[in-house]
Assembly symmetry: C2
Homo-oligomer: 119 residues x 2
Amino acid sequence: MGKMNRFEDYDCSGGCPVENALEQISGKWKGLIIYHLLGGTLRFNELRRRLGTVTQRTLTKQLRELEEAGILTREVYAVVPPKVEYSLTEKGQKLQAVVEGLHAWGIAFPTPRAAVAEE
Amino acid sequence: MGKMNRFEDYDCSGGCPVENALEQISGKWKGLIIYHLLGGTLRFNELRRRLGTVTQRTLTKQLRELEEAGILTREVYAVVPPKVEYSLTEKGQKLQAVVEGLHAWGIAFPTPRAAVAEE
DNA sequence: CCGTATCCATGAAGATACTG
DNA sequence: CAGTATCTTCATGGATACGG
């Protein structure tokens, strides 16, 4: 016992941890958002700039979903001009190892952009 | 130097490692497929059973995409009835830490299924 | 057993314009 | 600055039926 074969009886009908996890962070920009927030709190437009090409509508939506998942918090300051800050919750910070693992893997194994002009 | 602020100048216009990595493994069943293959080679229908509710068409497609990304290999045996085996490549196996991290996180933080009947 | 071939519904996300 | 409000496009993935 102890180790056992943890891959044997992994019936995923009805939801399983990996699927569950992916569900919460799947979305075109979510991984990236989390990665950037690992560096600390960011305002809406700071985040926007870092992501490069995301639209306001989309960024807002992804942030709201991450908020609902309990991965980040949204803090609104009653000032003018408006100021809204996003930070990771503890739950979100616990993704640090995973996201940095993805980052490292992404460097080690870039997308194979078709084996053209090769041969 | 050395550490520096690696979050500061992380301009993702034009593709960045995290985005790149996510691109290769995003798909409704891909994370799960990789997870199951961490336990070793599997045949098409074994995989199918483990995923629970995936259709043939969809599973085939996700497998082909993972193959094209170089994450797994597809070995066809010229026997009848047909036999096709899927296994992770080295590139795929390097995702082990990430996927197991997701698995652990998914257990620790299930999806917050609305705070109903709670209060 | 391991797929293809069709057809189709859904929703994710971009473009664009406007507002407190 | 930080969003809404619309409208539209497109890819994902399910359902179903058939084939080597």
